[in-house]
Amino acid sequence: MNTPTMTPVRRARAILTVFLKEVRENLRDRRTLTSAFLTGPLLTPLMFMLLINFTINRELDKAEQPLKVPVIGAQYAPNLINALKEGGVVPQPPVADPEQAVRDQQIDLALRIRSSYPEAWRKGEPVQVELIYDSSQRDSHTPVDRVTDLIENYARMQGAMRLVARGLSPATAVPVVVAKRDQATPQSRAVLLFNILPYLFVLTLFIGGMYLAIDLTAGERERQSLEPLFANPVPRWKIFLGKLAAICAFSSASLVICLVGFSVVGRFVPTEKLGMELHMGPSFALHVLLLQAPMIVLLASLQSLVAAFAKSYREAQTYVSLLMMLPILPSVVLMVMPIKPQDWMYSVPLLGQHLGILDLVRGSGVSPLHLALCLGGSAVAAVIAAGITMQLYRSERLAISG
């Protein structure tokens, strides 16, 4: 019955004890395991690959496949029609009311050639052909551009031939030429498609730690084991740190599995079809992990905070699901307002990770300054969030179940 004397060495083990117990207990929970190590981290790379494949193939299909276009008055301009046919357009029989058909989305576009076309052509007057389409239809853009390009090319060629026939150089009619020099590298084009990647990584982290965060606060209180736990001679902040470490361990493992998944899946994305390059190897994975390190702690703290506020497990689930909306913000903001990244933006949690990961995908790498800003800004936020949650852990209300 001697009271055990506590050496400092033994006391330091409390955090580790809590951590190991939480990890062991949750490794025995099939639902947590499935969501943290299977569905959560593997669903995103799979979904991403399907989405990218679908997009790429659809774009490629449109460019190569024969384009069916209903033509009204095809008989008035046989040469133009031939030129279109060479460009892959397959003229279709005219429709009665092309405007209505386009509005009803029965057809993407229609071409109308007036009966005055042959007369005007012979006189050498400018003639007009009409393209009927609906620009609010996302699907119509590529076909419209294709047909427009074909007609304009035909017109330029005919114009040049007329000038030559009159003994003039075709160059006189073209005083200024625009030479387009696109500075986009294959990687920077990839960024457009891969804008969603940073969000997927944060989502994986979030889902990986979610069940634990709820279970270790709201769940433990609901099962009435928090009160006996707090009766032990361990300060509550140490109990919280042990639990926080367990949540972080699960969400980090989740992210690692996800990154491995992406590096495998990355090989199946047909980026070479678009002349793009993808960097999803070990270096990419390590950099993402580094960028996300403070985010792991920040998310785990926020989840614990929100879950500790809730009165029951179910209420905690609702709140944490609402919190899941938070990481989508940078992606949405950048999509709506494509602003030029400034240095300070890297220090904003979530936004910094977003920009940093896009830099990685772009292949340019994250500069040391941006890396420091990103890690520093998020680390400060993580410490603040953990501090607030720790305060909440000290409240009397937290321990009382019912």
Binding site: P4, A14, S225
Partner: protein, 244 residues
């Protein structure tokens, strides 16, 4: 030895504990008797430092709970009102977790744990996961983890709640053994017969105040009733919330 001096605790306008003073001595069983909602659980929660009293002092073996709560918790074995176990861990793992949080070295942990498993007659369930345990098996596990660090003072909040006759008898025997070992045993109950049969000293609480603090014999003499049950009803003013 547990000493409580003039404890006060209010939740909003409700005065849950309104000036409670008593002492529980070593080698004795002290019963905290009162109807449901009298303030027993709140008083005990302040004893094991889960809550801070608005006013008053708690001393455990002479250590002030407000000054050194960790030292107080080290000297207490607590079976709280909430006695949830970790259902994905076995009974032994549940006990080990608390032992490590108490800072017990591994060899001492094994000796103490096996002694408790024998004393509480739970060898057959010790390696089963606690999910699906009966109420009695749960209480045994909760008591074992509460006493793993060999505390001098033991606090039990309504320990026989929900137990069947056999389990209740076994638990009472266990409490007598704790007393025989010289420990200070403090337990709360709203069951008069239990308190009368076990206690060396009875503290009767009603509406957040101590209305009596005496031995069973003194109580009978004080109230002029030969029957303890009548004595309690007379003290509390009604028999509401009490059980025979």
């Amino acid at each position: 030895m547990i000493e409580v001096k003039d404890l006060h605790k209010a939740f909003g306008a409700v005065k849950a504990v309104d000036g409670v003073t008593f002492a529980a001595r070593d080698g004795q069983i002290t019963g905290l008797l009162g109807p449901n909602g009298a303030g027993k659980t709140t008083t005990l929660r302040m004893l094991y430092t889960l809550m801070k009293p608005d006013r008053g002092q708690v001393l455990v073996d002479g250590i002030d709970a407000a000054v050194d709560p960790l030292a107080v918790r080290r000297r207490l074995g607590v079976l709280p009102d909430a006695r949830g176990l970790y259902k994905r861990l076995t009974a032994r793992e549940n006990i080990d977790y608390f032992a490590r949080l108490q800072g017990l070295p591994e060899d001492e942990l094994r000796t103490r744990r096996e002694a408790l498993v024998t004393a509480l007659d739970m060898a057959d369930i010790a390696d089963r996961r606690t999910e699906g345990f009966s109420q009695g098996q749960r209480v045994k596990t909760a008591i074992a983890r509460a006493l793993i660090h060999d505390p001098r003072n033991v606090i039990l909040d309504e320990p026989t709640n929900g137990l069947d006759v056999m389990a209740t008898r076994a638990l009472r025997e266990f409490m007598r053994n704790l007393k025989a070992e010289g420990r200070c045993v403090l337990f709360s109950s709203h069951i008069m017969q239990e308190v009368g049969a076990l206690c060396d000293r009875i503290v009767v609480i009603a509406r957040g105040r101590v209305v009596a603090d005496a031995t069973p014999d003194e109580l009978r003499a004080q109230t002029g009733e030969s029957n303890l049950e009548e004595a309690f009803v007379k003290l509390i003013g009604s028999d509401e919330g009490l059980a025979a």
